[in-house]
């Protein structure tokens, strides 16, 4: 008896169309550059590259920055106009920040459209969303640090958003300001909120990679050179200091300022939404992002038949102790122990090690089965012959 046909949801059809579009873009780029140089395969690595550029240029800028109401703008102006290559490196920092966010968003959408967030890959997705949130906060505080009229307005708007939070709003706003109003302590806090989360990004990256065995953390040399070259070129051609925004002043009431579409778009929304609306919208978008791995799957786990298959089992007689499964398991769910006896097959007769599955870590992903050339691993409820039968049936259909 054939199973009833399951019609995909509208979400599923949209995601399938996006998957096809993504793959078409891949194919088009692979026609131009060798596939191992396709930049879309290294969006995470590109984000890492820009983060390193940000850290190195940020260390340089930090040497000259003075976190006080009187000194902040003057120190930035001194750095930009007087220090050799200071303005250039400020531009490098600025453009690398934008490129960092673009790379993160490309990484996010690519992994979303290609289903690389489902099931046991929810861990990098969740950590990635938090990385994105931190990146946004770091970028926003960077604009405040300059303490020009834009930084002053951003701070005032941010405080309004904080105060609109129900219950804790006023207390959080006072904590951010370091008192009832803006003071030197505010800029010290902003500086901490810029550098602290930036340092935490590397801790989050460790979490991001925790369950990935072979993450591509660095792009090919050609793209390293191109991306670093591009930020230098932009920094030289479109100097950041050319915006000529006046320093912050208590009496200043600017009504317009240049907006960075990558980092400052929530403030643009304040043209139409109340502060509480922006806070709620941000919370909803972030929560929806966190929920993506658990909502609206294109196919259910049951339909895919990859869950509840029982943890992987080692077929003792076939295991040669080659360690391939041990190296391939992203979850560290396989350990190698001294073999208590030889295996049954010829290949396993002289083994010294035996693979053992740590049941509490196994997510039944089946990677170890693909890694083993000796048919020494199985998912009990999804045997190889069953998979082959399913593939054969799908091919016939």
């Amino acid at each position: 008896m054939s199973e009833p046909e399951v019609r995909p949801s509208r979400y599923g059809r949209v995601m399938t169309a996006l998957l096809r579009a993504t793959l078409r873009v891949d194919v088009a780029i692979n026609r131009i550059v060798p596939s191992d140089y396709n930049p879309l395969y290294y969006t995470g690595g590109l984000a890492n590259l820009f983060l390193l550029v940000l850290v190195l240029s940020g260390i340089f800028l930090f040497f000259y920055y003075e976190a006080s109401l009187e000194g902040a703008f003057a120190s930035v102006r001194y750095l930009t106009q007087t220090v050799p290559y200071g303005g250039l490196l400020r531009g490098v920092h600025r453009y690398a920040a934008d490129a960092f966010l673009v790379a993160i968003l490309l990484h996010l959408f690519r992994n979303w459209f290609t289903d690389r967030y489902l099931f046991s890959r929810d861990n990098p997705w969740i950590s990635g969303m938090i990385l994105l949130l931190f990146a946004g906060l770091i970028g926003f505080t960077g604009y405040q640090l300059v303490w020009d009229e834009r930084g002053q307005v951003l701070t005032a708007l941010f405080v309004r958003i904080l105060r609109s939070l129900p219950g804790v709003g006023p207390a959080v706003a006072d904590l951010f300001l370091g008192g009832p109003g803006v003071s030197d302590g505010t800029l010290v806090r902003v500086l901490f909120l810029h550098i602290g989360p930036a340092s935490a990004l590397y801790l989050l990256l460790w979490w991001h990679y925790l369950r990935l065995r072979h993450p591509k953390i660095w792009p090919p040399a050609a793209w390293v050179l191109f991306c670093v070259g591009l930020v230098f070129l932009l920094a030289g051609l479109i100097p950041v200091g050319a915006e000529a925004i006046p320093p912050a002043a208590p009496a200043a009431r600017p009504t317009r300022f240049a907006l960075d579409v990558f980092f400052l778009w929530p403030f643009w929304l304040l043209n139409w939404l109340p502060p509480a609306g922006v806070a709620v919208l941000g919370a909803v978008v972030f929560t929806a992002g966190l929920a993506i791995p658990y909502l609206g799957r294109r196919e259910s786990p049951q339909a895919l038949g990859v869950r509840h298959a029982g943890v992987a089992q080692v077929i003792d007689g076939n295991c040669t102790g080659c360690e391939l499964c041990y190296y391939d398991c992203p979850y560290n769910a396989i350990i190698m122990v001294p073999s208590p006896r030889p295996g049954l097959t010829k290949a396993a007769a002289n083994r010294t090690l035996l693979a053992v599955v740590v049941e509490s870590r196994c997510v039944e992903c089946g990677i170890c089965i693909g890694a083993c050339p000796f048919e020494a691993l199985e998912l009990p409820a999804l045997l190889e012959r069953d998979v082959l039968a399913q593939v054969a049936e799908a091919v016939r259909a």
């Binding site: 290559y85 090919p220 050609a222 191109f226 591009l230 920094a235």
Partner: protein, 66 residues
């Protein structure tokens, strides 16, 4: 096709040499933004050279991709 790649590499090498000369000029005349822009041009030219070397089959693929 390989001849075209090698011609491209030669052209980009010339661009890189010109950019290097420009960096020295920018440094000597305190035109820091000019020097910085040309650092970018130099690196982008290098990127193009590496890409063309790969397309010509003279380097790569990356060790991780073999």
């Amino acid at each position: 096709m390989r001849g075209a790649y090698l011609a491209g590499i030669a052209a980009l090498s010339a661009v890189a040499v010109a950019a290097a000369a420009g960096i020295v000029y920018g440094e000597a005349t305190d035109r820091w933004y000019l020097g910085g822009s040309l650092v970018g041009v130099l690196l982008i030219a290098y990127a193009g050279i590496v890409l063309l070397l790969r397309k010509a089959g003279l380097i790569g693929p990356r060790k991780a991709e073999r």
